[in-house]
Symmetry: C2
Subunit: 476 residues, 2 copies
């Protein structure tokens, strides 16, 4: 029997002012994890969240993670390990989120104080962390409260993992997940993460994959010191000229990857997968708007979506050591370091990709006949993640979306990386679902971050509905 | 009859401690023209120099140049216009130099206080401005003093032009030269500038040319703001990918210029000119040492010298707007500005070169099929300058070198630009000679700038001897 949710939905509507007050309190705590001076605020935010959960009857441990690696004068903010309910007859749903935020200051160009939740006449709720990720985390708390107020039995047991370092490399999280995989997290049946965004503004989505990212640097050096281009131009092998040629050999302006062997690693497009893209509520105009221009490689939605979600790409990020400020400087830089990365997709294994890239740049450099020297360096690698969108975790979430929004959700993948998804999947061997609350216009990480009131309130309904559907969805 | 210089030389030797004290006083005034706070010191240095000249019987005007264009809160340091002697039977020699210096601070890595002249056990005199250009400027004053003390008649009339903004764009100098070409400078027969360096450490040179420099920027933009490479990699035309390809199309790693038409503008090498390079006292080891590596394009001295002195070169200096600091950032920069320049030689006219470069980059960009937009910008252009090394100004200087050092000087051209040479030549229509005092190891503009005592004292002899020879050299 489909879950009866009307009372729950009504209760969420009735409590919406209280839920907004809860978000206002959270936004007011400037829990910026990347600023030393704000570290006490991050810790305060963790305690505030723990208190909120305890007040709702949950059990919470604030797990201390010790000093921050490499910056030992700082103590890591605690990882909140929580539990709500422990009925052995119910499924256990592991939810993840984070209570820290990106930096923000009025001087950056915010229209309002970033740490004062400000609601405009279009019901947009502006504030740092409103959508990333305080709104979604509090959504779970709202779900508990609405159930209690409505007197509805909670359909599952919740296992919570809320960290305070997500915006600063998730230091300490992987170790915690590994350590607790067979302990605190051992009962988890599936994982649900609400920390990404709809593709547009109208239609919810379920996200079943993210691309990986291998990041490289390429150092070319020769002269003993920076040179004057008048004195040495035409005489010295210039590291910049060499680097520019090697970087140019990686990718065409139309995005075609020129590294031999990469294309062979990409999983062929099946009919099943191809069928997922056309229904996605996304137009080229949406893309133009988010890009701020019409400079797209592809002119049709399906190609654009597939190149964002299921094909690799190489981006040239910049060059360290070269002249990079405004004005003119007639320098021949002695040592330049090119930075580039490749976004990876199934079935590109990290080591295989690294080997192909290294072989390519070494061959390209050898071709130059330069007397400079090149060093290839792998900066960091994170693997892609793809879940099975037909898993019962997803079908349950799909039903919840239909119930709350009246539409089937888009099934999407993120172009960017969310490493925690892979960690949960690998360590727990459970299906992971990304169930976003915010929309594409929320400006996470930017100025004027916001969460629409509709997304917060209907999103709270969605998270609750999901728990009811996932509680009774048949396993596949 | 060859000039009788023995008494003069002896006097210089006798006065050397006094001349070094003069340099010590000058170095102690931190006349850094590019630092606002030091502007009063630059002015003080101008007045100190004027007082020195007046004490020697010269006439001096400190010409005020008004506010600094674009930085009107600063007043330009005065241009010193001086005269020593006005005998209508004597030739009038215009000498140019500058009394300002590059920035310097002990913290930059100087072994000694940069504004305290410090002489080590190898008679190297360390101090900012020692070689660039206080030593040479004071050399002229030493010449006057030694003549007076030895009771030798001064062989020429000196017209002096000493500026205080050379290290900061020579603001105001061109206007002064233009304004005075037919007034204060009207009697000048030839021009002599001592503000460059020997090619090595043993053999003096006369410098009869400099390369020009046209500097360009290339702005490519598309996205409305910086993008996340995960979200937009493979979807957007990336300005960096476009720019790297266009920059790569300009020059090969072996220095070959790929811009159509440039090679045709370069004056063919005549036998006369070709004969100038082999005698130059310069070895590949000298080059390796100054380069700090063996990463030279050419393996033989003559090719290396010609590519420094008489062939054009293109250098890629850097990129503004891309990721340029250490670490890793997965950004697709929205707007990137490539900076590059071409060193020009006879007969490359500025406008012709600009046209060829613009055509080339526009065609290269069009080939990309990118939807981004490109803006080509000419940042600054300075023409090459080549004088006739057989002019009597040069033959006189050659005799002076032989007299003082016992060797024929190298005839060289500078790879870098010294715009004032061209201004004097164009405005006065007189032969200009570069007669350096310092050596290749003096580290002008760098830390631990120095002038060897030998170069200062023998250089003072050279400047004086030059005046005697140029006074009586037959015109060609």
């Amino acid at each position: 029997m489909a879950p009866q949710l009307d009372n729950y939905f009504k209760q969420v509507d009735d409590l919406q002012d209280k839920f907004i007050d809860r978000l206002r309190e959270a936004v007011a705590i400037p829990s910026i994890s990347s600023e030393d001076a704000r570290r006490p605020d991050v810790v305060r935010m963790g305690h505030w969240l723990a208190d909120q959960i305890r007040a709702l009857g949950g059990e919470v441990e604030l797990r201390e993670l010790g000093p921050q690696p490499g910056r030992e004068h700082l103590t890591l903010p605690p990882c909140l390990l929580g539990r709500y309910g422990s009925d052995p007859k119910k499924r256990n749903i592991l939810i993840y989120g984070h209570y820290d935020v990106q930096p923000a200051a009025k001087e950056d160009g915010w229209a309002t104080d970033p740490f004062t939740l400000t609601i405009d006449d279009k019901d947009r709720m502006f504030g740092r962390g409103s959508t990333d990720d305080k709104g979604p985390v509090l959504g779970w708390l709202n779900v508990i409260e609405a159930h209690q107020k409505a007197g509805i039995e909670f359909p599952v047991n919740l296992i919570m993992c809320f960290e305070g370092m997500e915006e600063n490399g998730s230091e300490g999280l992987n170790d915690t997940i590994k350590a607790e995989a067979k302990k605190f997290f051992k009962d988890a049946d599936v994982v649900c993460i609400s920390d990404n965004y709809w593709l547009g503004t109208e239609k919810p989505c379920l996200t079943y994959g993210v691309r990986g990212c291998n990041y490289y640097s390429l150092e070319i050096s020769g002269p003993g010191q920076d040179l004057h281009s008048g004195v040495f131009g035409g005489v010295a092998h210039e590291p910049m000229t060499d680097l520019i040629r090697v970087m140019d050999s990686l990718v065409d302006p139309d995005g075609k990857i020129l590294v031999k062997g990469i294309a062979d690693l990409v999983a062929p497009l099946t009919d099943d997968e191809a069928a997922l893209y056309p229904p996605i509520a996304f137009t080229m105009d949406d893309l133009y708007q988010s890009l701020g221009s019409k400079a797209t490689i592809h002119d049709n939605k399906n190609d654009a979506l597939m190149h964002k979600m299921r094909y690799p790409s190489i981006s040239l990020h910049g060059i360290e050591g070269a002249f990079s400020t405004s004005g003119a400087k007639t320098v021949i830089p002695a040592k330049v370091i090119g930075k580039f990365s490749i976004r990876t997709v199934p079935n590109m294994e990290i080591d295989e990709v690294n080997k192909l890239i290294q072989t390519h740049v070494e061959e390209a450099f050898a071709k130059l006949g330069s007397k400079n020297t090149m060093k290839f360096n792998i900066v960091h690698c994170g693997k892609w993640w793809v879940a099975d969108p037909k898993h019962w975790n997803y079908t349950a979430a799909g039903k919840a979306v239909e119930k709350v929004f009246g539409v089937k959700p888009d099934l999407t993948r993120e172009g960017g990386s969310i490493p925690v998804t892979l960690t949960f999947q690998d360590e727990l061997q459970k299906n992971v679902l990304l169930l976003p609350m915010g929309s594409s216009t929320d400006m996470a990480h930017s100025i004027n971050e916001k969460l629409d009131k509709r997304n917060y309130i209907e999103g709270t309904k969605l998270l609750g509905a999901y728990l009811h559907y996932v509680a009774e969805e048949p396993t596949n």
